[in-house]
Symmetry: C3
């Protein structure tokens, strides 16, 4: 009883002490802030630095069409408040399995794209067409992934390890497991106990059933567009040998200029004006952002689908291939019934992939961006070189595949799990580390990476190593030991 | 004779010409500056940029207790002077074997922690409890290190190579070898000739017998707190595959935000205010700095011991294990008499390691920092995942160890030096490169690194490679060649 | 007919609308800008940010001798104009095979060092003494390179792949292949079709016969001296395991301070004043820039030869060796007739290499820079350690070479192409990846890189691996499979 009186008193005291642009902050958010300013100051300060904390929905809706970042017409109950804690953490509360009673409010822990869609519907819609939105299922629903996990994580399945590894980027499944009572500054309180949490993976399965985490790229309570536009953000998941986009960018001329001139680039403006806001692109410039010319003519529309300027998928699978038609790829089946967009020998499984015309259309979108700063000849020649690289890296992957097929045929390796023996792991690296690296280097102009760092040198060395390893396997096959 | 008159004249001239905040610079330091402004302008300018050059001891002592960086009560002879060349390079001169007569002053080359302790006694005391302070002896007094060196540097011992390799970070032994006469702008002068110099390793053995080099992290004559707080400093020694802390930080969400927002972080303030001075931590934030909340309540005390917020030692040794009780680890002996904190099969040598209670205490200190910006559930779950990683990486190291033990048992490898044969080197990489990398990635949230870059993929591939290599060794054992 | 009237009208309109510092822009350049402001805004804005767009030749010539960046006395027809599009893209037009008729002007696409030499003759002259200027021929005219390519790119020669790989940094041969008609905003126009383009490699063979691309380091239309002075520029080609200069810099104390203090460094000033403009060097500081002391006394002259402060060539070839006398190295022949500066067993081919005296002279130049910020003892000791590293890394390369020679002798490897079998590729990595990395780490103080990242650990592991691989080859030689 005393506890409750104390709480009410404290809340009252804190309310009146709050001074931050109070009028435009909702009563509910002010209640959140009153305690969280003390218990999690980092979160509150991060939010205070955001555009959300300084912009009412009305102001956001009144921006001109090129500058507008809010894409919905539906309004909140009140549109003259800024977007604070309560606006997101109590939205759609009935849909969230992680909703809990918290000082009189129905709060949920995991804010999801469905919540963000209240204001940013177009972006969420586009994102759902993105392979990333399906990043969880695209792994977990593909039987080959289970085999890869079995041979690359612990022998016995371990969810925590999987969450810490592949699913850290792909997204975990966040579920309410139990409830837990904790001591807080306001006495004992009950909270939901989540599994698969914390996680900001791009295809996270949220407790409301939605997919993705906008904070992957717009972290964390500042929801910053600037951070999302900087290559450091993409690098979190696109840096390793399986997706070395960032490493290649760094040694490209674009990267060279970016790091030298970063302070002169305007990461805030919407839309981005070519030549004025930037004289060198970042990842977002070419793959996501709305770009206009000096007269505000649109060069390219914003896209959170991200791959709609990309014709080829150049990593993660055995051969480079046209982008899948659909973002959910686990449904793809090749002739052998495997969930792969190509046969083992490289032929495309065309029915699931975009057409040549579709590829052309996407490539043309990308070229529009290139020619803001490069001549059309420059651009055309650049793409010709890239297409040549697609062809030769696929050929060299096929060469490695043939060695593996021979090892299987001669029974010195065993195909039931294609990922667990040494020669199989060599083969995996051929496409997962080397062929893709060469392609990234070619696509983005980072030759240094594509030659000796993880490129053509290894692509060829690996073929030779596989040959000699196979020779040792064959020659020692009959020896008893 | 003429030479001396010239010198006196020159010194007089230069003295009077000096204009830099002259009153608060000691006469001795002004003498240093008069020549060194000309012969080593870079050093002088670096010092001029320092807090030392602008703050008298009295001013430093008068700061309020949270802001104070000077921890001693003992005062210099004069406390109204700034800290210049002479204050450090002539301090404790009788203790320094590298002290030499230099234009009428007793100067030593290598300023040591003992000199710094005149003003910063608490920091030096804490640092001495740090494993880093013993980084020289922890290697050189451990017989296993001699074996590693024998198989990883040149076959015949070479001090210069060792100084250039392991001891560059660990610290060399700096000794006076001889004297040497050099021509200078003031005529011939005699200087001590040092071996093991230059070096800024963290456990450097100084000519005054003290251990460490404060300039490792506070380089070089600016003694900057800002530089020490930036991750670039730690990365000098904590970036390679043996200690990939920096590489993991870069691909963590913390790193993502740091690089995007670096310009908005206040690296100067003492104490650091959570949420205000920083909205994202650097290495120093979590491992060293004094942090307060908005009301100047202390969240965590400053610590130059650095590992007192760390329960587990996760790198450099075969298995992750509780931190050693004592900073000098060469005295640890396991059942086989090896200087290792675990048995070869992973059991902890408990008497030398901190207790479970001690571990809990340290981990709780760290969690206090986490919950400035994260909920307690977030924090608890994060540590659960980390503990799972400790367990599984130790298991997978054990799996590799068993393969090695079999190779020794079957006499296809020879255990007298456990580091020199191929299968032994594979085993070393299992724990020195891969298991530790997975742990760092788990501890700091850099999944990208812990999977394909140097993580779980290799941890498992290496076990398979060791198995097949052992098979080749066994199968070819009896073949004459 | 209508098209031409339209063009004239448009040009007239655009001319009069142009407002940018019009008086000092030549009529020809204004014509370029009138359209290109619209079709390639990025290029125009980049140029607008340059010194070229803001400085007339007269102003540049009137700078005092230390600040002057223009080294020619010959003047343009008009010296009161700034350097714009037409000044470069129509210069020496008769020499350029890529010159074409473009709206009444004779324009060429590829601006070459010969064009730049009109104003910057001294820099171009120095650059021609640089190995980089011959980077194309030094590869293509060396028969060993053809063998390396054959075993490291696709089996069948592919010019696009070669341009995308080695020649991306070394420079391609740019040739006019054909003409092509394109639709533009001013109707159909004819352009030359180039092969080997785009490319900014350091030894690019230009359509006017000249060698090099100043934009390699001074990109792209801002021709920035600041960008050239930042390490990000060098890193484009000097980061991979074959030339890990940048990676070593990053983990050196210099790098540590650079990244921490980058914002305080003056990258614009000419000359650079030691201690004032910089308190930590970048690549350019030590290898290229003009440096003065506080009294404007020259510490070191500017040099675009770049290697005239370097005694040893430490990468790219089997053994570290004195720098070649001449920048064109394909003419070097050792006793076996191979285009190598050493024998296979390490002896120097002295007649083609600089003398000991020449080496001393170059090293002394470098030391002059060191002693701006370091004592002479520090500097001397640093070089002693480096010389020791040269010696030991050459010894360890010899050890690997002997294993290879044995493999050839025993006919388990085939020497006609020394780069295509596994044991040969291991040998290549010994010197191309590991020995060089250790040397860079020693030369620049980046121990972390030179030990476990790509250094001494691998240098020794590789020798052991080669021994055991050779053993497997020998033991399985007679086995039928």
């Amino acid at each position: 009883m005393f506890k409750y009186i104390f709480r009410i008193f404290l809340l009252f005291f804190l309310f009146t002490a709050t001074s931050f642009a109070e009028d435009s902050i909702s009563v509910e958010t002010r209640a959140c802030l009153s305690c969280h300013r003390i218990v999690t100051p980092g979160i509150v300060k991060d939010w205070e630095a955001s555009v959300h904390s300084k912009t009412t929905l009305k102001e956001a809706l009144n921006k001109n069409s090129l500058s507008k970042k809010v894409s919905t017409n539906s309004t909140l109950a009140k549109d003259d408040i800024v977007i604070g804690c309560a606006e997101c953490h109590t939205a759609n509360s009935e849909l969230h399995k992680d909703t809990f009673e918290h000082n009189g409010f129905k709060v949920h822990i995991v804010v999801s794209p469905k919540d963000c869609a209240i204001c940013h519907s177009k972006e969420v819609e586009e994102y759902n067409k993105n392979l990333m939105a399906e990043a969880y299922g695209n792994l977990k629903d593909n039987p080959l992934y289970a085999k890869l996990i079995k041979s690359s994580l612990e022998p016995s399945p371990n969810t925590l390890s999987e969450n810490d590894a592949c699913l850290a980027c792909h997204g975990t499944k966040v579920e309410v497991k139990d409830k837990v009572v904790k001591n807080t500054m306001l006495g004992e309180m009950e909270f939901p106990l989540l599994s698969g949490w914390p996680n900001n993976g791009v295809g996270r399965i949220n407790p409301d059933g939605s997919k993705g985490a906008c904070t992957s790229c717009h972290p964390r309570h500042s929801f910053s567009i600037e951070i999302a536009r900087k290559p450091y953000t993409c690098s979190q998941c696109h840096k390793g040998p399986d997706v070395p986009a960032y490493k290649v960018y760094v040694v490209s001329k674009h990267g060279n200029i970016f790091y030298s001139e970063e302070k002169n680039i305007n990461f805030k403006n919407t839309p981005l004006k070519a030549g004025e806001d930037f004289r060198v692109p970042t990842c977002a410039t070419c793959h996501v952002s709305l770009i206009v010319d000096s007269n505000n003519n649109v060069i390219i529309e914003r896209s959170h689908q991200m791959n709609d300027r990309l014709a080829w998928r150049i990593f993660g699978l055995i051969y480079a291939h046209p982008h899948p038609k659909d973002s959910y790829t686990a449904k793809i089946k090749n002739k052998k019934g495997l969930s792969l967009p190509t046969e083992l020998t490289g032929e495309f499984v065309k029915e699931f992939l975009i057409s040549k015309r579709g590829m052309k259309k996407r490539e043309n979108k990308m070229k529009k961006i290139c020619i803001s700063c490069h001549s059309t000849s420059w651009t055309e020649n650049f793409f010709s070189k890239f297409h040549n690289t697609i062809k030769t890296t696929n050929e060299q992957t096929l060469e490695a595949t043939k060695i593996l097929l021979k090892a299987w045929e001669k029974s010195v390796a065993e195909p039931s799990n294609p990922f667990d023996e040494t020669i199989e792991k060599m083969w995996v690296e051929q496409w997962l580390f080397y062929a893709n690296s060469v392609r990234f280097a070619s696509a983005m102009g980072g030759a240094d990476y594509g030659v000796f760092e993880k490129g053509r040198w290894y692509l060829n060395k690996n073929i030779q190593n596989m040959k000699e390893w196979l020779m040792f396997l064959l020659k020692t096959k009959e020896v008893k030991n």
